[in-house]
Point group: C2
């Protein structure tokens, strides 16, 4: 992993010896994270990322780091970056053994790292697949980008075929949630629909931007429960991820989509 | 945290700088763990703990560490230990950014630590409470002791009252699963019942020992779906945890139990 890293504002002398042995992010996945795209020293949608991070901390009862400290870290790592991926992790901090957090005793861990940008790919529609791994439902954890990501790890372990651009996931009741690392949108009769994520899934930063931008383009958007059969009725399907942008889909098993107009219009509007 | 620690067989020079920045246990909770009781340099139910650890690794597609290496670590930390808690974490290891594991590329992280024993408490029945935090259902992750433990962290955050010995948790459908860090048993008409854990919860090491020991004492045990109303019909209730042993319950909101015979008999049989 070649990354530049700051942990609580300090560069570790050695990335192999960077984190505390009592780190609750390691022991319990007790924290939240963000991954953002950096271009020309600018973090795309930074305010949205920081807001979601703060909402996640609030939901988990983690003391969010001071925004000034976080922004100073981000500034240091992104200032000279032409293209990269910024990752922020905030955990509850270090502690003694046991699930129960110590009240007020935890100083949150602030982990900020810059990774190389993913290889740029030509804009072309991607193939999707269904994942067998399901997402458990728990409204208490829905929407936030917490560190309990085993379901996504298992889902992405299911395929190696590089021609597949993303895997779609259902929850344990069979409802459509999104991609393993993306949100999904589908166009039906001119209306853009996306899962409402009331039970699971992550409220994506680009998802929110797409919803706003679509309204600006006069496209009606609905957030509602969606099921696999809704994809069969869709004239256009695309997935969104803050790092990879908007990716139109052309194929999902026996389904085919040739329409990419709305994905392209939104991509132009959002420059992604 | 005062613990003696080995990471991949090495003592970190500084526990504040112990783990790799790319540790997948930290980024995704991508691993499993065990906590075991140590008395007089002996780890109680060690084989059971190591078997569950291996099963968990298999379920997650993590290469389990060699048992000889793990046992050497355990031996080093427990050899001179009169009383303590042994924690083992095995994660998929370190990696580049992204949920997808690199095939065969990961060397698992082997974290073994010895913590002080919990203060010994007089054997007396404990009070229980209901947790508001629910457990999401996902058969794919049920039973194993993985590192995605936010639900347990949130559940234990719900109370501070030290007179409460454990919180009971339901899954999102309202089914009884167990305690925040224990399994639950209840006696109805002379039959011992415990949740079957088909959708969530951890297959506890002491739970399995209790099931075996009960059979030896001529007590019928059933593993089946249980609901809160089953507690109302119970003549005796107890919870089990490998570190804290068998704890009879005396109270859960308006419910009271005065019977502790089966818990005591099992505790004597298992010396815990």
């Amino acid at each position: 992993m070649s990354a530049r890293i700051l942990i609580n504002g300090q560069t570790p002398l050695d990335e192999a010896r960077a984190l505390h042995a009592g780190e609750r992010g390691f022991h319990y996945g007790d924290g939240v994270f963000e991954t953002a795209l950096v271009r020309d020293a600018r973090v795309r949608f930074l305010d949205d990322h920081l807001s979601r991070l703060t909402r996640g901390c609030e939901r988990l009862g983690i003391q969010a780091p001071r925004r000034a400290a976080l922004q100073a870290d981000i500034e240091r790592l992104s200032a000279s970056c032409a293209a990269g991926v910024l990752k922020i992790i905030v955990s509850r901090g270090t502690g003694t053994r046991g699930y129960r957090p110590d009240t007020h005793a935890h100083e949150p861990t602030r982990f900020v790292a810059m990774y190389p940008a993913p290889p740029s790919m030509p804009w072309r529609p991607i193939r999707l697949r269904w994942c067998e791994t399901r997402l458990g439902r728990n409204a208490r954890l829905a929407g936030i980008k917490h560190l309990n990501r085993l379901e996504q790890v298992l889902a992405q372990s299911e395929w190696r075929d590089e021609r597949i651009g993303e895997g779609l996931m259902l929850d344990t009741e069979g409802e459509l949630v999104g991609g393993t690392a993306s949100n999904v949108f589908l166009l039906r009769d001119g209306v853009l629909a996306t899962p409402d994520l009331r039970f699971c899934g992550v409220q994506g930063v680009l998802r929110a931007q797409v919803i706003r931008a679509a309204a600006g383009l006069g496209i009606t958007v609905v957030e509602e429960p969606l099921w696999p059969h809704d994809l069969e009725r869709a004239s256009e399907v695309f997935v969104t991820n803050a790092v990879r942008g908007i990716r139109a889909a052309c194929e999902l098993e026996s389904l085919r989509w040739s329409e990419t107009t709305v994905a392209r219009r939104l991509g132009e509007a959002l420059e992604c």
